[in-house]
């Protein structure tokens, strides 16, 4: 069991005094994702000491943990019961916390089939800008009482308060897993990705890089065997396969290194190929990464007409906007909602957008 410590009262007090002195706070969990979002501002407030498992009921497929618990600790605990976090979050050398993972809504290669952390969230506890410790959602699979302010935290980069506790739906570890590779150029890889996703096969990964399409199946042994056989291609050894998917999830794959800014496109999976190099395509076409010295504006051409959205994941100008700018109406709504939860704008000012 990971170490357990409840510092929520301290945190509430910190918010109270920040409110009094009108001092904005920069929330820091494991500090594994400082590079993400716009440059942090405000007085640093470490929240990772608030940690530990509050409840874990394997037969309910539900775990509740304090937000400072690291993803690695949680995964280890789940592994003992043959369960996993379906959304495959990066662990960033054991530093990533659950709270940070929710705030950034990061999910790994299985996301199209097993959902994101947002999809797994059942409930949260949250300290708002008034220093109140609130509870939304719960520990059950279905709960539609009140507005869903728990999933609402996903991707908010901590601008909507200090998430102190998270209840998540967990998944049984797939009985079997297999990865096969096929040599394909980008256009035909995308084409095959579309075809495969339109078939009822137990996919859990579809990724293309450097002329190779990686196809991962997960599920019951017999189903995985038969699906992989139907595809053909070259089978990766289990160890090799695990390492490969891990390198993508953890951003340690060579593609992600280098000085140029790293761009992330979440787009409609069947979007045309990107005429850029280098490109990495994940999520069956739904997530595309490029590296290039460019600014936000020209990158947006790929995400026009609601096709998707672009953000600058790492590097580049982090004083400017790093997430695709919102149209004025949506920005206004964001500001009002922010005000509804954090009226003094204490939490992570400007981390998500300059005007938020």
């Amino acid at each position: 069991m990971p170490i357990s410590k409840d510092i929520s009262l301290d945190l509430q007090e910190r918010v109270g005094s920040a409110a009094e002195s009108k001092t904005p706070l920069q929330l820091i969990g494991g500090n594994s994702k400082e590079f993400l979002g716009r440059v942090p501002a405000g007085e640093p407030l470490m929240v990772n000491a608030h940690k530990g498992i509050v409840d874990y009921s394997p037969s309910e497929l539900v775990v509740t943990a304090r937000a400072g618990t690291t993803v690695s600790e949680l995964q280890n605990l789940l592994a003992e019961e043959n369960q996993v976090l379906g959304f495959e979050p990066p662990e960033f050398q054991g530093q990533a916390t659950l709270g940070g993972t929710l705030a950034t809504n990061l999910s790994g290669p299985a996301r199209p089939w097993r959902g994101s952390i947002r999809d797994a969230v059942l409930g949260v506890r949250l300290i708002n800008g008034l220093g109140e410790h609130l509870r939304f959602g719960g520990v059950v699979m279905k709960n539609v009482a009140g507005y869903d302010l728990s999933r609402f935290q996903a991707g908010a980069f901590g601008t909507l308060g200090i998430v102190t506790e998270i209840s998540l739906k967990v998944a049984p570890k797939p009985a079997a897993e297999q990865t096969v590779c096929l040599a394909r150029d980008q256009v035909s890889a995308l084409d095959l990705m579309t075809k495969l996703q339109n078939k009822p096969v137990p996919l859990s990964g579809l990724l293309w890089i450097d002329g190779i399409l990686y196809i991962r199946f997960s599920g019951a042994e017999a189903a995985v065997q038969s699906a992989a056989k139907r595809i053909g291609g070259e089978r990766l050894m289990d160890k090799e396969a695990t390492e490969f998917w891990m390198s993508v999830r953890e951003f340690t794959h060579p593609f992600f290194s280098g000085p140029q800014p790293l761009w992330r496109y979440s787009v409609k999976s069947s979007c045309a190929d990107f005429d850029k190099t280098p490109v990495l395509i994940d999520w069956g076409g739904g997530l595309r990464w490029t590296r290039e010295a460019a600014s936000m504006e020209p990158m947006r051409q790929f995400t026009e007409a609601g096709n998707g959205q672009v953000s600058c994941y790492r590097g580049g100008d982090r004083q400017g906007e790093v997430f695709q700018p919102l149209p004025p109406g949506l920005m206004r709504l964001h500001q009002r909602l922010k005000h509804a939860v954090d009226p003094l704008q204490l939490f992570n000012p400007g981390r998500l957008y300059a005007d938020l």
Binding site: V139, A156, A223, N307, Q324, L337
Partner: protein, 482 residues
């Protein structure tokens, strides 16, 4: 009021053709309630816009005149969410009934809110795709209503709720602005507004367009039925299946009263002399389905099921489901009225909660039938009563309230899929503390500063909560007297 009505009418006629405005009592009557007909109210009028511009203008007009707006889909809701406001206008989305496009390659469809849930899967069928969330009301309910309630269904155990199956929304705000939320990709930058709007019961905006995710139709689907001589054993079997690492496509439970009512009604082939029955559906590739059906059957055996039957063919599978799907109307045949509750509990609490409900049923002298989503822990106790017997409705409501509180006490919540509406306002403070309720109110005001969208629903005003607390004190006192 007459003045306001006249003014509204004059202005509405500039926005809509005469046929798009209903104001005579006879035609208004069917709109007085939703599927929960114990709550009724007549609106000033009902309007039927057919374009987003009309919706926009209607909202702006109502905002100017500070007139309440109640959005309405198909009116199958079970919490009086679409019940009209006496001084307000019902905005029916019935004319927004087009499937705008199906993008088979991206497995998504753009639809208008008035499209029936089932119609989406029917239209997607030619591409080998379907829309997964399937409320039992799917032949009638609208996708807009599903979005507003975050509806669930039999297959949500494996495929998630509405919130897990929507990619984008077009929403007209309380101020008449058009917002596009989400996109055709998986993630969005900024706040997760989809989560906020889905399940917001028409309190934050009117949804005018929806992009849904479609899934490939599974290769094979099989169902296994098992009966148990004690409800407890069925509850244990549910727990055991999940603990096995199997996620069934659906896992439903019915009790003796429900089984027999359904059997009388549609002759599904259920064994009658049994305390509880489980229907467990598995879908996927043939190999996987066979393996899991075998393992589920083994669990049933271990839990000493009486009869275990795997549907031999598609016909038999359909018949087994028919009984489940017809269960509500079937109960309607054996009682003048019934009242459907909707709490969710952790699965481990199933037996305990069902037993307590039974003892409450004895105390209140009202029969209860159970038909529900056991895999999700989402209970639907149906309280049987007769509204023509003086005091019986009030007794039923009190009993229902107790069931919801029981669900909260067991670690669950007061509504799993039907929403709060008017019906469960009283129980909201049982689940949420005052600060959380106030937080909801501030979120509401951020989206609807004049509170013109579906006022009096979903989130109680704090003064209600105080009334509630004194009320429940009083009722505790009453029972102690007995």
């Amino acid at each position: 009021m007459a003045n306001l009505k006249l003014q509204l009418l004059t202005e509405l006629l500039k926005i809509l053709p005469e046929a798009g405005i209903i104001q005579d009592e006879e035609t208004l009557r069917p709109y007085e309630c939703d599927g929960l007909s114990i709550y009724t109210e007549m609106p000033l009028m009902v309007v039927l816009p057919d374009s987003v511009e009309q919706v926009q203008k209607i909202i702006r007009l109502c905002s100017r005149l500070e007139t309440p707006i109640v959005p309405r889909g198909a009116g199958t809701g079970l919490s009086a969410g679409a019940m009209p406001h006496r001084e307000g206008v019902v905005v029916s989305l019935a004319k927004f009934n087009r499937i705008l496009s199906i993008d088979a390659d991206a497995r998504q469809a753009r639809v208008q809110p008035g499209v029936r849930n089932l119609a989406i899967s029917e239209a997607a069928q030619e591409y080998g795709l379907y829309y997964a969330p399937d409320p039992s009301s799917q032949i009638a309910c609208s996708i807009g209503g599903n979005v507003a309630e975050n509806s669930g269904g039999v297959h949500c155990l494996k495929y998630g709720l509405t919130v897990h199956n929507i990619l984008a929304l077009e929403v007209v705000t309380a101020e008449g602005d058009i917002l596009r939320i989400g996109n055709q990709g998986y993630d969005s930058c900024g706040f997760d507004l989809l989560s906020l709007y889905i399940g917001s019961e028409g309190l934050l905006g009117i949804v005018t367009e929806i992009t849904v995710k479609l899934l490939p139709v599974p290769e094979t689907t099989k169902v296994v039925m098992a009966t148990f001589d004690r409800v407890e054993k069925a509850g244990d079997a549910v727990k055991q299946i999940i603990a096995e690492g199997i996620i069934p496509a659906g896992l439903e439970m019915m009790d003796r009263l429900a089984i027999n009512a359904a059997e009388d009604f549609v002759h599904a082939g259920y064994p009658r002399d049994t305390a509880a029955m489980l229907l467990c559906e598995i879908d996927g590739m043939a190999e996987e389905v066979d393996e899991h059906i075998a393992r589920v059957s083994a669990v049933f055996n271990k839990e000493k099921a009486g009869c275990i039957r795997v549907a031999a063919d598609e016909n038999e599978r359909q018949r087994l489901w028919k009984g489940r799907k017809a269960a509500f109307p079937a109960i309607g045949r054996i009682s003048p009225d019934y009242y459907c509750m909707d709490g969710t509990i952790p699965r481990s609490q199933l037996t305990k909660v069902l037993t307590t409900i039974q003892s409450l049923s004895d105390i209140y002298q009202l029969r209860v039938a159970n038909v529900f989503h056991a895999g999700d822990g989402n209970l639907h106790p149906l309280i049987l009563f007769d509204a023509n017997v003086a005091g019986e409705l009030e007794k039923t409501e009190e009993f229902g309230g107790k069931i919801l509180e029981l669900c909260v006490d067991a670690g669950g919540c007061i509504t799993g899929e039907h929403g709060v509406g008017v019906e469960k306002l009283l129980q909201m403070p049982y689940q949420f503390d005052p600060a959380s309720l106030e937080q909801f109110q501030r979120v509401k005001l951020a989206c609807d500063p004049q509170r013109i969208l579906n006022p009096g629903k979903g989130i109680p005003q704090l003064k209600h909560c105080q009334e509630y607390r004194s009320l429940s004190q009083a009722s505790v006192g009453r029972h102690a007297d007995k």
